[in-house]
Symmetry: C2
Subunit: 419 residues, 2 copies
């Protein structure tokens, strides 16, 4: 018997499974489960007819290049679509600053490969996207968390953390942020905070990695487009690496996303991508190009905003009715997630066991914290289930909570307004 462990790289020996993926695997064996775990878009929003037309048109043309190997940086007309898309959000990017990636997850992997030496620190939000934690930890990053307040990442916290690392002789190279409707906390960073963050990054000599999958999914009852202006739009000194994606605004299955970076950084990303997968799906990129160029993505956007806003409302009402004050949260102004505080004494992972028994799932808050915290939190995703299933899931969650082991603790002191 071969000792495979002995053949593994140090990094591979230390790989950790993503909590979300693990829950996905667990959940697959539970029939009739209501999943509040997966951050997947709603399949009822998928534009079947338009895609049928696009795809049929592409294949009818019999252009061999549509099914051949493609350029590592991506399909040039798609890159130009991205230039226009970004321009409309205030970002002035040239084609040589853009690399098409296989989902933004690949962009995060490249960011890690380009900027992280094994053992080196990187700054992330508390909480932050679990897939970024996995990507950076697989590369042996030492992740240092920075607290957030109601307006987003704490500049004081960022400054303290960055200065402490610099003093210790191991400065962080970047801070990773999701200013728009953060996964998991749903936070929309304030405009003032965005300016302060750009200034702080300059002062601290940090690059900013800005992940923006949800930017166009603001809820029109609570936010306007201008609230979602990317940091990259005001990146006067070329300090921001920006990640955008089609996974939430068209469909995820084509795995089309993009990374925007100063040209010298984009050139390194291209080299990383050459060796990582040669190029992203070639046919997929043409489909997405057609979806952008034909206006399909623009036509879908208002409907998607309304769709997720309505589901948010359904979930907030259902939780409010069935859980009467046991859970608290800040009402999200966009995106896919309700980030709830659990009753005092209820631990996220314990509650998940009970929830799975009651046939409802969520992601434990601790999956999003790099400092061991978050056990008093849960991420409930309202994006994928239908309204009826959201209501049913809330009912099941109430059953799970009723059985939860609340250890003689005082009633939760909510620091946030109830929905």
């Amino acid at each position: 018997m071969i000792d495979y462990e002995a053949h593994l790289s140090g990094a591979a020996r230390r790989y950790q499974e993503s909590a979300i993926r693990r829950i996905g695997a667990l959940s697959a064996s539970i029939p009739d489960l209501v999943s509040f775990a997966a951050g997947s878009p709603a399949v009822e929003t998928f534009p079947w007819e338009a895609l049928q037309e696009i795809v049929a048109g592409l294949l009818a043309r019999r252009d061999g290049a549509a099914l051949q190997y493609g350029a590592t940086r991506g399909y040039r007309p798609l890159i130009e679509d991205v230039v226009h898309l970004l321009a409309r959000r205030g970002v002035d990017a040239a084609p040589d600053q853009i690399v098409i990636t296989t989902g933004s997850q690949q962009g995060l992997d490249f960011v890690g490969r380009i900027f992280i030496d094994p053992g080196a620190p990187a700054l992330v939000e508390l909480p932050t996207y679990s897939g970024a934690i996995a990507a950076f930890r697989n590369l042996e990053a030492d992740l240092v968390g920075v607290r957030q307040d109601d307006e987003g990442l704490s500049i004081e916290g960022l400054t303290e953390a960055a200065q402490a690392l610099a003093r210790a002789g191991r400065p962080a190279r970047f801070v990773y942020v999701t200013p728009n409707f953060q996964n998991p906390a749903g936070l929309l960073m304030s405009r003032a905070r965005r300016r302060e963050l750009l200034e702080a990054a300059r002062r601290l000599d940090l690059l900013i990695v800005e992940d923006d999958p949800y930017g166009s999914l603001y809820f029109e009852d609570a936010a306007v487009e201008a609230d979602t202006r990317p940091l990259k739009a005001d990146d006067a000194d070329g300090r921001v690496v920006y990640l955008g994606s089609m996974s939430k605004t068209l469909v995820p299955g084509f795995r089309v996303a993009w990374l925007v970076a100063p040209a010298p950084v984009a050139a390194r990303v291209e080299l990383a991508k050459q060796a990582a997968d040669l190029c992203s799906g070639v046919f997929d990129q043409r489909v997405v190009h057609a979806a952008l160029a034909s206006g399909l993505v623009d036509r879908m956007a208002p409907g998607l905003r309304a769709h997720y806003q309505a589901k948010r409302t359904v979930m907030e009402r259902a939780l409010g009715e069935t859980l009467a004050g046991q859970l608290s949260w800040r009402s999200p102004r966009g995106g896919f997630f309700l980030w709830v505080r659990l009753p005092e004494g209820v631990r996220d992972t314990d509650l998940l066991d009970r929830a799975l028994a009651a046939k409802v799932s969520f992601v434990p808050g601790s999956a999003f914290f790099v400092d061991g915290g978050g056990h008093d939190r849960a991420r409930l995703s309202f994006s994928n289930p239908t309204p009826e299933r959201i209501v049913e899931g809330a009912r099941r969650l109430a059953i799970a909570l009723a059985g939860a082991d609340v250890r003689q603790a005082p009633k939760a002191q909510s620091r946030e307004p109830r929905a």
Copy 2:
């Protein structure tokens, strides 16, 4: 101005551009170029009608899962197709040993991430696939080359190299080989050599990474299917990590390939993939599943073998007629490449400059050597151009060679039979 270099990881600072990709970029600016450089399949073999039917059928079903995020290991019915495909080639693999990858290039990246620590050695063939060199070097591998003879990798060479590394206290964990119609040398490893390699790997405690994109593209005038039996088929002790792909036997644009490894290794690859891109193209995987399940891939195979065999013959004849003995090569028994020895005194990179001026390209031999050698070689790919273009390319190559700076050297002593 930000000093981006100072923010890069050590690995990223040392990234090297792949020679093939660089030539591709150079060539894009030359109108009417005949490319013998790209190892791309022939677009005239693409099965447009069948794909139109498959794709239309998939979208007509309106199954949301076809466009949603998918399982990291891949689409389960596709994994089962791969099980059957492998079984027919003598390989007994269970689904938990298979991970679908975004092209085999991603498989190579994962192999590197799983098995290579920065600075650690890995064994490769002299010459070997330049994309593997890039993937492993990006991960800071110290690549050690092992010579090949007419039957494939030299077992003596492998033993010497592995033992020297072990004696130096830094044993190699794997040897990377392409037994079937190697890129670039076109070599088909003999059946005896395959057995010897498996034995040597056991003796030397090496894993074997077997890359097999061309296995089913043997030329029926020179080889039979049994000649291409994968090492993995005789891997009694779970020592072989096998890479297969649809890029050469269907189309490359869907980026669908697979990695087969002992289950504990496959589980690590899954963790790497979770963080690297969540999952490969979901729609693409369903298209490829349909292409396999409907028998399309099987129906295409004899035609592909005949197509590339005919092109090989065209190239050999054209070179024989126009270059009358200046180039020598071993006639390939499958695959995409003619691996030619240049006239004595002609350097590969110098000839490439002249060739580009004459509007024909190839890949310099040195791109495939990890020891600085190969400047007396060139890889000529006959897979992509039409027969007419192959003839025209040979004519242009003769012009380039006529102008080449053959430095008063004696006539080439060919060690191989002329075509």
